[in-house]
């Protein structure tokens, strides 16, 4: 599987808390012996807004005039800090690194075999309110695996994947999940959706796909309701959930809440453009 990955790419922007993502990406790049590439995405919409005469920024301190100069200065500072953090993480994990600043969609900066690791959360504005990461939306335009990292790298805890239907995409999902489980506790829990074959058949199929991978594999039927899935994730001490994207390349229903509440990382594989 890892032969399919050419780079580990970390998209960075001014809104996200990226430390966990950078560290996770650097670790993966080092394990897979591929380069680590940071892409700082400047927010075109924000720059556009700053060009309007009435643009203001509302902060906790009050209202401040928003100008392009002001925004660009901030973006440069954020990009510079992101570059330093990326280089430090690469040095720490002995990975090769590069860095680029783009204005516009991330997709333009990605290559075919890129594995994307992004920060799962934006910096909070107030309490639980977050303006959702742009990577949720941006992801729909790519067919790259997207790893949303919101916690520091952990070697403990299990990797959980939910398979909706057998097929090439599910096999790819399973292989990636096994790959990442192998970097940690080696515990992989495969949950088969209700419309999937019988449990024994699922176990057989999973074993066939993974061959003799050195992991602790177990299978079970997936709970029907998102709430039950959250509870199961907590019971399994889940550190990563690996899911297939929906047909449109978006996230399955309830996943954002699942990730937020379970506090674990998320890997989304496949999508509209991935094809079968």
């Amino acid at each position: 599987m890892k032969e399919e990955i050419g780079r580990v790419v970390v998209p960075l922007d001014a809104a996200a808390d990226d430390r966990a993502a950078i560290d996770t990406a650097a670790r993966l790049a080092q394990r897979w012996h591929v380069p680590l590439h940071g892409v700082f995405v400047e927010d075109e919409e924000l720059l556009g807004l700053a060009g309007l005469p009435f643009a203001v920024e509302v902060t906790r301190r009050g209202r401040e005039k928003l100008t392009q100069r002001h925004v660009e200065a901030h973006l440069r500072a954020f990009a510079d800090r992101a570059r330093r953090e990326l280089e430090a993480a690469a040095a720490r994990h002995h990975a090769e690194s590069s860095f680029a600043v783009v204005r516009g969609p991330l997709a333009a900066a990605l290559r075919d075999r890129d594995f994307v690791v992004a920060g799962a959360a934006t910096r909070p504005v107030g309490g639980h309110f977050r303006v959702r990461s742009r990577w949720w939306a941006g992801r729909a335009a790519t067919r790259h695996p997207l790893f949303l990292a919101q916690r520091g790298w952990q070697t403990g805890g299990s990797v959980m994947t939910v398979l909706a239907r057998p097929g090439r995409e599910a096999a790819r999902l399973l292989q990636l999940a096994a790959e990442i489980a192998g970097l940690g506790s080696r515990a992989l829990k495969v949950l088969g959706a209700a419309d999937l074959a019988a449990p024994d058949a699922l176990a057989h199929w999973v074993a066939e796909i993974l061959g003799e991978a050195a992991i602790e594999l177990s299978t079970e039927p997936a709970p029907g309701e998102p709430r039950s899935l959250r509870r199961r994730a907590a019971e399994l001490d889940c550190r990563l959930i690996v899911l297939a994207a929906d047909a449109a390349g978006g996230l399955p229903e309830g996943v954002a809440e699942l990730v937020e509440e379970a506090g674990c990382d998320l890997l989304v594989v496949g999508g509209a453009e991935a094809g079968e």
Partner: protein, 822 residues
Amino acid sequence: MAQTQKSRGTAVETGKALPAALLYRACDPAELPFDLAGQLEDAPGLIGQERAIEAIEFAIAMRRKGYNVFALGAPGTGKHSLVESLLQRRAATEPMPPDWCYVNNFTEPQKPVVLRLPPGRGKGLGEAMKRLIEELRAALPAAFERDEYRARRDVIDQEFKHRNEEAFGELQRQAEGKGIALLRTPMGLALAPKRDGKVLAPDLFEALPQAERERIQHEIAGVQGELEAVMQKIPQWEREHREAMRELDRETTGAAIALMMDELRAGYCDFPDVSHYLNAVEADIKENADDFLTPPQMPEGMPPGMPVPAALQEGLNEARFRRYQVNVIVDNGARQGAPVVYEDNPTHQTLVGRVEHLARFGALVTDFNLLTPGALHRANGGYLILDAQRLLAGNFGWASLKRALQAGEIRLESLEQLLSLASTVSLDPAPIPLEVKIVLLGAPSIYYLLSSLDDDFRELFKIAADFDDRVERSPETTLLYARLVASVMRREQLHPFDRGAVARVIERAARLAGDADRLTTGLRAIVDLMQEADALAAAAAKETVGATEVDAAIAAQFRRGDRIYRRLQEEIGRGTIRIETDGAEIGQVNGLAVMSLGGLAFGNPSRISARVRLGRGEVVDIEREVALGGPLHSKGVLILSGFLGGRFGRARPLSLNASLVFEQSYGGVDGDSASAAELFALLSALAEAPIEQRFAVTGSVDQLGRIQAIGGVNEKIEGFFDVCRLKGLNGRQGVIIPKSNVPHLMLRADVVAAAAAGRFAVYPIETVDEGLSLLTGLPAGEPDAEFNYPAGTLNARIAARLDGFAEKAAALARHAEPGARS
């Protein structure tokens, strides 16, 4: 005229050789009713120190401020062991003092709180606190993992979340409805006009009709106002959320720890300070329950996810819970009675304790756990013995001790704080009340210096325990001394000392006292002698120590330190240092000095010479002129002038100049023990009467011509005896000593033997005239009513010489008068 008196029943006739019996007072075996010293009981304590013992016992009984003790006495008199045994005996009957603990002050951590507990309970409190924290580390996470807690927390979270989402959601809906996008900016949020789901670019906005642009701006301004209002409410909502969470945590923690805290408090309900402390602990745990629930915070700069070494993890955990520890600074649990402490290095820190520091992540940190006790803490409620010289030389030890005694409390602070040198914030622990009796041990000179120079000293050390350096030698004290020998023998596990050995030790004690009728109380020297004699007996495979071993040990002690003495003797023998022991010389006499080098004192003969000439009545002390003479020596020489003036100046003016010198002396000279010898040299020079060089003289003289006692008489006689033996004993040589020194004679066995055989002699004198007659072989002569001396006597010759000087001086004066004919 010779005077006869009795000493120890033997006649002492001045100007005549002393009988050998008076040169050494042997220990009478009849006074020693035993064969081996082991048959004797231990001595009841130190001998002859009743005055000091009474003083110490009085001070111990006086429970009032300032009744501390200064035990003064010469080194080696056994002050320390006596004081310690008296204090131990008393302390064993006194109650155990309390335990003292330092605990955290939760409101002002830099001011640790002190707790007083009955002996042994301090440690118990420390262990109970340790158990409590261990239990809480398991119990609190369990309490916070219960469904009930989670549910309540979820409710609070949901309420907060709902409030936020409602506010922002409404705002977002309102904005969406008006075609406005909510964008994240570097520091907050902004509102932008949208068209077809995208933010309107500036050029497109500018292309809009004026009215449309104004409408959009108006709409945005309206939503912006709402947004600002929401943003301003966020801090308040966050505060309320945090407070609600904290209150829930407090309640949960309180419920989880209540039972444990109640049990702990019940054990200390009789101690209000401890109960108060435990209440503070409970309140702190409620406020800081997070410490028990979350892993410790990693040091700054540590990358996320990096595995934490177990030792670091443990250290971080320990650091988090240090504030609940109990620092038992004084634990009297295992003690019997009151403490008796000896601090051999009394400095500020060893007395009042110290504030130690830990290096943590590159910084030095401290807390109440790093307060360490000093000797005052350990001795509190009992007794503390200190060496005065070390205390005064030690680092601010004396100042800190006085401060503690005056304040009646131990204030534990660093030296930097004491001297106001530290500008950093440090600990200021609560002081501990001090009730201690201090006993300082020191030399008399230190006591007298402190008495005269330090006003506080007299207030704080009202009792002086004065240790005598010698005791009268009587049958009773001799027997006590023998018991002391037996005690030392047993304590030091020496071979048995037989009666002869004990007798020799007692005789040595008299010699060390410098008095045949006294015994030294300087036990250190006696113990050393006994140990060395024991070693010799062991080397000779003897089962008991006899007089032979004691004598050999004494000789070996002298031999080990006599290199300089032997060198001087050798140079006298070779004639490099000129000492004559035969023949006669005008104006020259053998004087005797004592040199002390290391632990050894020996007598050293020295020629003293005098020259006289016409002058104005001055006696010049050459030693003083070249600044080699000390004040006592100068005083002695001035007394000679007084004697000359008194005896011969009444009948004529003293028109002479005289000079006196210690020949071949190249070092300092002090003391007046040579003043008699100097006077004899001067009178010999005046009378032009030769002095027989077979004599050496020691003694001081007063203005009336009476000879007075001096120190070191034994060493001086032995020193001249050794020179005479070196040059050849002729049976006529001897030493002239003051008669008042006869009771001090404890001479070496070879000197006594030579005297008994008539080959050497010791002559006691009382007056200058007795000495002069002995030295010159001429009668001194008694004056008549008009101060004239019989013809042919020494004094007549001196008077005639002085008359001659006076006439010449008068003639010279007449010639010098104005108008006189030459």
